[in-house]
Symmetry: C2
Subunit: 615 residues, 2 copies
């Protein structure tokens, strides 16, 4: 990963070593996924905090390509860790509460067995003979480490980039040991574009005359230039175009005079020279090749008969966070992973964080105010669901969803917020206990929380607002960030008993398409909306000649979130045209809370309809 | 640039040479922009078609980094050219009509003087001693070539990528010789990200042990691996993530067995190996360094006291086309160039083409149906404006803009199209002859054409639809693609006498912001919109309880382009709130074409208002 600044702590750390690290040698043979084995594996790791008596507070942190076991400072005298902003006492990953473990990965060069390690069978470094390893092998070594540490289950496993691949592999290959997984800026399979940059980097290493097929440890010169070139390419891919412009455009043609012998015609060139030159001082080219090949060959779908089949193995809730400007592990990949989990009814929450910082965002402070609370909320959420992984039942026709006759007494509060609460109360009444529910535009999970408190089937919310999503996650509700106007393609026909769209249809570009989609994925749908033909609105229009502003339509015409204006009758006509049946309709005067039966299209300012698109 | 397929014509071309190319030696000394000179410059060029008697049909084509003079086939026996899809008899750049010239650039390695050429002073190749050249030097050599060919003025200069930089340089530095310029997928200054990839590529060349400071021509080995690495990096940047996925994901881990000794673990790796290996067979590493440095140091703003000042030198109409997935020369750069031209009142049209093909799009057939007609229309447009470059007058208060009393006789055609025509007729009447006009949502230029026919000041349209933009360009109207909801930040206060927004306000997310902006950049504004309080609409709502569908509001509520519903009175209230004065108001019943004076908010279904935000 790119360092946040020219002056990182790498040198200090490399010089001082890792004084808090311990090394555990796992006796072999350590069988490898692609065949062959290692005679033994040394694992260099660090821990933070204390494993509690019930041994259920362990959090495993997986590092990225160039990381190591030193995830955080152990004390104020310690060298900075690579994730100090997130991990430590009182931080999002709170080491006062959790027992945090991080080990250098298999194949690495920071204490754990890798190509530079001595092969006990020959007494010489493995070098180019180090066997091909996989992400799964790295995770297997971590699992063996946990065995030795007496940690049977992980409260959570988390990681970003390559670390996210490992966390994902943990959840898929060791589901019985993982209680939750946090995947940041990662993918189930690198894109061909991302792959390309790794390939060119490796070619630069392979063609460095000092590479010598990886047998260079006893030589005077190492393939430093090849490794530096690979690192420079990597660096560019970790940043975003915007970050680079902001950082380097102002003094574009005024390079700094760094000590490394690479082109220094441009500001960004001196930065790359520095980063490339520095990297070879602390990293081994063979490890770079081994780890990048492991990343590049990581292809979860291929290994498990398809991505959905792989995700079906997951038993724990998964939190996915991606960053909008990350073009190396783009948000689309996180969406694909979320979709596969959703398709198999797995518990997943997902947020795409608006960020300028590119792939490195997960290591930087800039977006910490967003992903910090998200992770903290997820780690500390109450465990409210008895069954964390209950796939929704296969398509069954809607059962007892319908209008209840009894109307609760209502107060006389006159506000849109009151109307909204009223709306949710009514909708809750319409949903049978035990139903699985998809809430479109779920906000902070008000309705979903109520439903769960009553007892429900699988619950899922879709929402756009990051703050609301973070609140849902902290409440142990599953919520995925989605723009409803893009459809619900990820869900199966009738995947949910009920799909709810509360006070949102009027803000959709294409209400017809949203309705059709929600009644495809739901056996029934419940929609609430303001009635534009309400007498108060029409009277205003008629008497004042102005676009009405009412309790149900409270915004001025030029800045309203509502962009569609329709009456209950309009809605009914659209349903008829779409072949959607209205099973029941509650037309309400929100000022009084009363249900209107006669002349409802004139007398009600809000309607709630229960719908079905199925025969 | 990336080749469209594994099997390109490079080998055939290199083997067969360039049989139609001629070489002209310009006697020196040829002074260079950054100092120093070349004792002589040989220019290798090809021409197509015939220079006409009035010598006004010459089109100069500038090639990109790895291109050459062979832009197109000369006949069916000829090797393919790099832009055969665009240039040839009957094609967009029609060689039956135009005299097309293309020369290998200064610094290149395809016949024109470059680092591999013999320095007549030493009798040996320049190698690493080749002086630093610039884009301006390349253009200067082209200008000298034109002198020799007897071409004083160019009907057009066009190019993409580095070729676009040259075309831009032509327009800025030789304005008296250029009648129009077409800039594709280019920039006035590379981003730091794009720069980075060039820098890493050059570092790979410099660190190749066979580079030897560029003195390698008499050696057995050349810096082939360094050049191949540079080319591989370049290749990735020429494609888009989506193109790469489509091309390489299906057989991701099944590389082809290509003959070049680079990593072949992945499909995309074998492609890069092929492209890198092939490139070194036809290109010289020193040329790669020289040309890429010229591109990287191209910084039009720096050289001319700011980008706007540079663009102020342009005298000809400019056509800019960028491609949405081009992340190397991104659309934002074309927008910046267009903005600078607009800020100085220059004649510019600009289109961002929706494309999956990345930077290479301008060389590929995929988007030819869009950029082909655009270029063809621009090259063949009638020259309707006597003064192609008339900066709009500095801010002056609106003069005689206002309502005319006489109402033309109208027919009784009942259609929205009729209403639209009626609308334009009225608006045209409201605009004084000679006024400069900005038409927001100008469509195919119906109003602007009428205004020009009458005689007008500077005219400019903003539009989203690419087909409409192409039609405008073919009519010699200036039109820039813009989303009005993003504001009009590029324009100065009162840059135009009149800004028109015809039947578009109701489709805006934030009508208030659009109004404020249009009345900032216009001394006056003219807005037309449907009246939602028209009696027919209100009656429908009242009588049927349904959202009205009328002549002025012809779309169903769920799919209408209109997302804001307001009456004439609403509009007036908003103007009052924004401090905008309504200078005059025409309220029309579009069914009869009659203007309504009494009770207009009820009786008119459409309104046209003349506004001012200035005292």
């Amino acid at each position: 990963m790119a360092d946040a600044a020219f002056d990182s702590s790498d040198a200090a750390r490399a010089a001082g070593g890792l004084p808090h690290a311990r090394t555990l040698t796992l006796p072999g043979p350590f069988a490898l996924r692609l065949g062959g084995s290692l005679p033994e594996v040394a694992v260099c790791y660090e821990t933070y905090g204390t494993l509690n008596a019930s041994r259920d507070n362990a959090v495993y942190v997986c590092h990225a390509l160039s990381g190591d076991s030193h995830v955080a400072r152990h004390d104020e005298h310690d060298a900075p860790g690579w994730w100090d902003i997130l991990v430590g006492p009182g931080k999002a990953v709170d080491t006062d509460r959790f027992f945090v473990i991080c080990a250098n990965v298999l194949g690495g060069c920071r204490g754990t067995t890798g190509p530079a390690s001595i092969d006990p069978r020959t007494g010489r470094p493995y070098g180019g003979d180090f066997p091909r390893i996989t992400i799964a092998d790295m995770v297997a070594a971590q699992a063996r480490l946990l065995d030795e540490l007496g940690v049977e289950r992980l409260h959570a496993v988390l990681g970003g980039s390559m670390g996210g691949m490992m966390a994902l592999c943990w959840a898929v290959e060791h589901p019985e040991r993982v209680d939750s997984a946090i995947l940041l800026a990662t993918t189930h399979c690198l894109s061909s574009q991302a792959l390309s940059f790794d390939i060119v980097g490796r070619n630069a290493i392979f063609k460095d005359p000092n590479y010598n097929n990886g047998q260079y440890y006893d030589r005077e010169h190492k393939p430093d230039h090849g490794l530096a070139i690979a690192r420079m390419i990597g660096h560019v891919t970790y940043l975003s175009d915007r970050t680079m412009s902001r950082k380097f455009d102002p003094d574009r043609e005024h390079p700094r005079d760094v000590a490394y012998a690479y082109e220094k015609e441009f500001s960004v060139g001196s930065y790359l020279a520095y980063q490339g030159g520095r990297f070879v001082e602390r990293f081994d080219a063979n490890s770079y090749v081994a780890l990048s090949l492991a990343m590049d060959h990581f292809n979860l779908g291929r290994d498990h008969g398809g991505l959905e089949a792989a995700m079906a193995r997951v038993r724990c809730p998964v939190l996915l966070a991606s960053f909008s400007s990350d073009w190396l592990f783009p948000p689309a990949h996180s969406r694909r992973m979320a979709d596969a989990l959703l398709a198999r009814g797995r518990r997943v929450s997902a947020l795409e964080i608006e960020s300028d910082c590119g792939h490195d965002a997960f290591l930087l402070e800039n977006d910490l105010p967003v992903y910090g609370p998200l992770i903290e909320g997820f780690l500390n959420r109450p465990r409210s669901c008895p069954d964390p992984c209950s796939p929704p039942p296969q398509a069954e026709p809607a059962a007892n969803v319908g209008l209840r006759a009894d109307e609760p007494a209502t107060t006389n509060v006159r506000s849109i917020f009151y109307a909204n609460r009223l709306d949710l109360e009514r909708i809750e009444e319409l949903i049978p206990a035990g139903a699985s529910v998809l809430d479109l535009g779920c906000g902070a999970g008000q309705l979903l929380s109520r439903l769960r408190a009553r007892g429900s089937g699988a619950l899922l919310g879709l929402e756009l607002d990051p703050v609301a999503i973070t609140q849902c996650v902290a409440r142990d509700l599953c919520v995925v960030q989605r723009d409803l106007d893009r459809g619900l393609g990820v869900f199966r026909d009738r995947q949910f008993d009920v799909v709810v769209l509360s006070q949102t249809l009027q803000a959709m570009r294409r209400p017809d398409l949203v309705l059709r989609e929600m009644l495809r994925v739901g056996a029934t749908g419940i929609v609430s909306f303001p009635n534009f033909a309400h007498e108060a609105a029409v009277r205003q229009l008629l008497e004042t000649g102005s676009s009405p502003v009412t309790e149900a339509l409270p915004f001025p015409w030029w800045s309203s979130p509502s962009i569609r204006f329709f009456s209950i009758r309009d809605f009914e006509a659209l349903c008829a045209q779409l072949g959607i049946r209205i099973l029941s309709r509650i037309a309400i005067d929100s000022a009084t809370g009363r249900q209107m039966h006669d002349d409802y299209n004139r007398r009600a300012d809000m309607a709630i309809c229960v719908l079905s698109g199925w025969d």
